[in-house]
């Protein structure tokens, strides 16, 4: 229905809770807001915490940051039933036309949730060193096939006994040549690499050269530690 309006690049940011998705979005906004017209959609498990964090960080005008409430099903909202997010993105594109990039942060409740290509054109998957050096090796659709895998908080490597170079190498092994970026907000060179990656992606999207890929569905999973996690929908 909104096919006629020029489409922004819709970029998803997925990854487990606490790995730094909101921080990555804040960083991108700070560094790219003078080059690109930006909007942000956050997805929350409880209320609108992430949207509030980003608003209070002052990285964008408040009205360009909107929260989608996902009813404690953040993985559904980016994968099985993207309607709420899709409409939030479309509304944002309409209200601030023309937008160059809309960033969508997933609610990030687990390691396997990835965005549906019906919602985003490309996605980042964020891991952090504090989650342990072997997380990258374990793979999964986001780690293996997201457009960019970020290993975040590398400044913490020495403090959590993680060999960052090894973790990056493991990740690269799991990704068959797709890019991996070691990132820390304390290392400006890594931030610049992230921004460059987004710039190139946007250029490819604008030129019509970018083809969205689907990292693939979630692995079959159950919730052994969380008996309350019942759903009104099934996982496949």
């Amino acid at each position: 229905m909104t096919e006629k309006t020029p489409r922004s690049l819709r970029l998803g940011v997925a990854g487990p809770v606490g790995t730094g998705k909101s921080s990555v979005i804040a960083t991108l906004c700070r560094h790219l807001r003078d080059e690109f017209a930006l909007g942000v959609i956050t997805n929350d498990i409880y209320t609108d915490e992430d949207a509030r964090f980003l608003k209070s960080a002052g990285v964008l005008p408040e009205e360009r940051i909107r929260a989608v409430e996902t009813g404690a099903c953040p993985h559904t909202a980016i994968r099985d039933d993207v309607t709420m997010n899709l409409m939030a993105v479309e509304d944002m594109e309409r209200d601030f036309a023309p937008l160059d990039i809309v960033l969508v942060e997933s609610g990030g409740d687990n390691l396997t949730a990835t965005f549906s290509p019906a919602l985003v054109d490309a996605q980042l998957f964020v891991l952090d060193v504090a989650g342990g050096g072997d997380v990258a090796r374990k793979g999964g659709p986001g780690i293996a096939r997201a457009d960019l895998l970020i290993i975040n908080k590398i400044d913490l490597g020495p403090h959590v006994d993680v060999d960052v170079a090894q973790m990056v190498a493991d990740a690269e092994g799991a990704r068959e040549g797709k890019p991996v970026l070691a990132l820390s907000r304390k290392h400006p060179d890594t931030i610049e690499k992230l921004c460059d990656w987004v710039r190139q992606l946007h250029a490819a999207h604008a030129a019509g050269h970018h083809t969205p890929v689907d990292p693939g569905p979630m692995a079959p999973h159950h919730h052994p530690h969380d008996s309350n996690h019942a759903h009104g929908h099934s996982h496949d």
């Binding site: 229905m1 409430e69 404690a72 559904t76 709420m84 019942a230």
Partner: protein
Amino acid sequence: MARAAGGSAALLLLADGRLPAGGYAHSGGLEPAVTAGRITDMAGVERFLIGRAETAGLTAAAFAAAACSRAARDDLSDLSGLEAELDARIPSPELRTVSRNLGRQLRRAMAGIHPHPHYATLGAAPHQPIVMGVAAAVLGLGPRDAALAILHETNSGAAAAAAKVLRVDPFEVHAILARMADRLDRLAGEAAAAAAGPACDLPAPASPLADIAAEHHRRTHVRLFAS
């Protein structure tokens, strides 16, 4: 547009909680009632669901049925009148917004799933029951089907939410739904009968606690569900 074989499969499609229209983010007022301390156990869940079906459920069902019969006649001129009548029956602005958000979402989903020119003629943010009625008509279903679809979808959605906000046995949740099956059938019949009359006479059952709790919920800092 009526379906030869009864259209039962199309009805199941429309009533399915997995229809990708964002319904899973809402508890139909159940979480607000739990937060307010008015539901603490399964008996409370059942009483809540019964009360809700008899009030908000009946209203939604009647408006879905009314929209369906109008859309089936290709008479969409009157749908804005239905919108206004429904607004008058929802004192809480929060619940009016929720209904319109769900309506937009349902239209967005159905316009992709089963396109039809009717969807474009609905206003910017149509109420969910109106869209449900139009969707039912587009699928060749009748007013009673439209009523049943929204009754089932909203009832099972609220029931499913119980599993997330209370300590419950999911089999007990479905036992309640099974006990309510006859009730939903009866309410769908009432809704369809009312839909044949003028819009001003559509049911208008009040549920003061649902309105009050919805406004509190919007202002609650920690919540699982949007409503």
